[in-house]
């Protein structure tokens, strides 16, 4: 069975190679048959890689420990859902899974664009097939998941119990989907450069394919944070570790791109900049993968210092050279069609947004690579920690929040002083209300109050946009206000869905701000003792030890009161897993929208007294709420509208006629649109 997987992988490599060849040749000759053949072989690659993944999954589920990967990443005692997840739990399996996801994206691109973007498609297909080819190579030569041991062990080494958590099972595939999916917009950009069709077509095609991985990356990072918060017991959800940064940087670049795209679509400006941003977004995903798997920077997260590093370096350099070369070659055709007319305009807000997002990205990159850079230049390896990132990124993100609120208030082209005065009144009032509320509810902390005030500003500005649009729709169509809101969200998804995404970001920022005034305390309590922490009273009721299959558990029970009123019983635990000799901390959390009461059982003494660590983390729930809204609103925004479907149908109809399918000469690099 396992040989079938390996064999399918070899065939996939060959098919991917053929797809590159057929697509490019087909495009050069204008040979529709070859182009289709290239597209179809991408479908075959997907089929073959599915067989490969299926074979590995089969080996994992049937506990075939003779397969090295199965032996290293699973064991018989693991619950089935985590056995399933061990497909991507280790390095080699995750590389295979990654390649499979890429082929799934490629299938999507091919099937959705059978009759659309024809001049671009052969180059898109060849680009994606090149990336697939690279992953097949990695799997065959440096990260072979099908390698077999010379004997069959009785049981595997299993998965660390800390990682056996539902969030941890789905967080990696989400990040992979996000990282790998960024290759699609990149492929469209490269296709535009190669084919010479340099108008906004590629942008329109790439936008949705950018939104999908962008959403996955955002969701994956948030899930990772949620896991860290619930499982790791340090009271936080983001530690600025290189591995976290690696998946955050492409998200930042993609966010910048999502905004600057709009300027090109509306005004025909920033064409070169958008190309650079696509390169950068994709480059960050490859670089991030390289960073986490090469051991260049040390990280809390474990990835092998594997042999993948050099392959990535070569792949990155070659890709970058080709991309930059093509861009320089096409520069004369990427001239801006318009000039910025006024400083006080929507365009400026977008431009500033791009600068700040890239500023944040640069800061994250700087901090991540600082040990490497400082060693190269001074000989001393200097590392920077979370305080660095917080102190640099907090002020920058305040600027970003300000722009999120101010942007929609500026008109395209230019904005008059009078309209600014009128439009800013409501948001500024909201700013003041939020600032005063923050100052009274929580202790005074400069950044926190600025941040929450700015959140109020964003809320005011988005609210005003919705209110006005609802009003004018109500007047023009006679719909009720609520119904008008519904039709706005349904009909102008891009605009109003986008505003809802802004609301999600605003909720996230409210949550992040809470970190500024979190409290941590440790205390020793004996049975029946009560202590006050903030406005809570905590009573230590009892401690119990028990033996469960595979683990020993110590659990403490404590009751939590607020000004004499009973809130809940908290049961923090310490577990010891026998097979892996691993201790785990199970935190207990009492959570409200105001704050989380986060309780850890540190340890207990002979006399039954126990030590507890307590974090009072304000506003954490806003992060999770914002995260859920982020995912929902992003999906809503990218979901095709009726107009999109009509356009697609029209494209299909016009191209179904084989006579006009592809005009020879319209696709070669020589043909410049």
């Amino acid at each position: 069975m396992i040989d079938v997987g390996y064999f399918a992988l070899c065939l996939a490599l060959a098919m991917a190679g053929y797809a590159i060849f057929a697509s490019i040749l087909g495009a050069r000759r204008g040979d529709e048959g070859l182009i289709r053949s290239g597209e179809n072989s991408v479908l075959v690659v997907f089929g073959l890689l599915s067989v490969s993944v299926g074979a590995l999954w089969y080996a994992i589920l049937t506990h075939d420990f003779q397969v090295q990967y199965v032996y290293e990443n699973s064991d018989r005692s693991m619950p089935t859902q985590y056995v399933v997840a061990s497909l991507w739990g280790g390095q080699n399996g995750s590389v295979l899974f990654w390649g499979w996801m890429l082929s799934l994206y490629s299938v999507g691109v091919v099937l959705f664009n059978r009759y659309r973007y024809r001049p671009l498609m052969p180059y898109v297909v060849s680009g994606l097939a090149t990336y697939s080819f690279f992953f097949c190579l990695l799997n065959l030569f440096v990260a072979d998941p099908f390698q077999q041991l010379p004997f069959s062990p009785a049981d595997g080494r299993g998965l660390n119990p800390i990682l056996q958590h539902p969030y941890m099972a789905i967080h990696p595939p989400m990040l992979y989907a996000g990282m790998v999916g960024m290759s699609v917009p990149f492929a469209f950009a490269m296709a535009a450069l190669m084919s010479g069709q340099l108008d906004n077509t590629w942008l329109r095609a790439a936008r949705r394919w950018l939104l999908i991985p962008w959403t996955f990356l955002g969701a994956g990072n948030l899930l990772g944070g949620a896991w860290a918060y619930l499982e790791l017991g340090w009271g936080g959800y983001w530690g600025w570790d290189p591995v976290e940064n690696a998946s955050f940087m492409p998200w930042l670049a993609a966010t910048a791109l999502l905004h600057s795209m709009m300027i090109q679509e509306r005004k025909g400006m920033l064409k070169v900049w958008n190309m650079v941003l696509v390169f950068f977004t994709y480059g960050m995903t490859v670089f991030g993968t390289f960073l986490t798997r090469s051991g260049v920077v040390s990280s809390v997260h474990s990835f092998a210092q594997s042999d993948l590093g050099p392959f990535f370096v070569v792949f990155m350099s070659v890709t970058a050279l080709i991309a930059i070369g093509l861009l320089v070659f096409r520069l004369p055709q990427l001239k801006s069609e318009n000039q910025l007319e006024s400083f006080a305009s929507r365009e400026t807000a977008f431009l500033l947004n791009n600068w700040i997002l890239l500023g944040i990205l640069f800061a994250v990159l700087w901090g991540t690579l600082f040990p490497v850079l400082s060693e190269a230049f001074t000989g001393d390896k200097i590392t920077v920690g979370a305080p660095f990132f917080n102190s640099v990124i907090t002020p920058l993100s305040m600027g970003l929040l300000l722009l999120t609120g101010a942007g929609p208030l500026f008109a395209w082209r230019r904005t008059s002083a009078a309209s600014l005065k009128r439009d800013f009144a409501v948001p500024i009032a909201a700013t003041i209300v939020a600032g005063v509320a923050a100052a009274t509810l929580y202790e005074l902390h400069t950044y926190a109050i600025i941040s929450l005030s700015l959140c109020g500003f964003v809320a005011g500005s988005v609210g005003l946009e919705f209110y006005r649009a609802m009003g004018s729709r109500h007047r023009s169509t006679g719909e009720s206000h609520l119904r008008a809101l519904g039709s706005l969200l349904a009909k102008s998804k891009r605009r109003y869905g986008g505003y809802v995404v802004h609301v999600a970001i605003l909720l996230l920022f409210v949550g992040f701000t809470g970190q500024a005034f979190s409290i941590d305390k440790e205390m020793v309590l004996s049975y029946g003792e009560t202590k006050r922490i903030g406005h809570y009273e905590l009573t230590y009721e009892t401690l119990a030890h028990s033996e469960e299959p595979g683990m020993s558990i110590s659990a403490a029970a404590l009751s939590l009161h607020h000004r004499g009123e009973f809130l809940c019983t908290l049961v923090p635990e310490r577990r010891f897993y026998h097979s892996s000799e691993q201790n785990t901390t199970e935190v207990a959390i009492y959570s409200t929208f105001r704050e989380d009461f986060y309780l850890i059982l540190v340890g207990s003494a002979e006399d039954g007294s126990a030590k507890f660590q307590i974090y009072i983390n304000p506003l954490v729930n806003w992060v999770w709420t914002g995260g859920i809204l982020f995912v929902l609103s992003s999906i809503w925004t990218m979901w095709p509208t009726r107009r999109d479907r009509k356009l697609a149908a029209a494209d299909r109809a016009s191209l179904r006629d084989p006579a006009v399918a592809i005009r020879p000469g319209s696709v070669g690099p020589a043909a410049t649109a």
């Binding site: 290293e72 990443n73 739990g89 390095q91 041991l149 004997f151 080494r157 998965l159 660390n160 800390i162 990682l163 790791l232 017991g233 340090w234 009271g235 040390s298 809390v300 997260h301 474990s302 990835f303 092998a304 594997s306 910025l340 400083f343 400026t348 431009l351 600068w355 700040i356 500023g359 640069f362 800061a363 700087w366 901090g367 600082f370 040990p371 001393d380 390896k381 200097i382 590392t383 920077v384 920690g385 305080p387 660095f388 640099v392 002020p395 920058l396 941590d520 440790e522 020793v524 691993q582 201790n583 785990t584 901390t585 850890i600 540190v602 340890g603 207990s604 003494a605 030590k611 660590q613």
Partner: protein
Amino acid sequence: MRYKFVVGSVVVAAGLVFLLISGVRQSSARHLTLDMLLQQAASSELSNQRLQLGGCTVVDGSIQWDEYRHRPEFTVTDGERHLQVRYTGNAVLPDTFRDKALVVLEGRFTSSNQFEADLVFAKCPSKYEGESYDDHVEALKYEGQS
């Protein structure tokens, strides 16, 4: 018109540079390996610097927890040299901290040749890490024969 954008970008860039420099000043640690640390301990003054010590593992059986299993003392080694460490931080040590774990420590080197760590990172004990794979295969082969 154009100069406003130039001024704007210069302001953003200058702000960023300022933030980066002041940020690095605020929180940076010199990364050393154990042999570098011990070498420099003899010759120069390390005690007023914030240090990050990498590439060490916890000596098997050296962890001595306090009464409530909170702040341990332990010994780290790079295979040849040893160093006594005292944990002084507040946070509960990560679950991955245990005998033989690969650790990165942040803190100070005291005059009594001890490392006072207030941050301890212990690597996620993932499978393709820790003891080398070959050791395992060797052990298993042995198991299979006997």
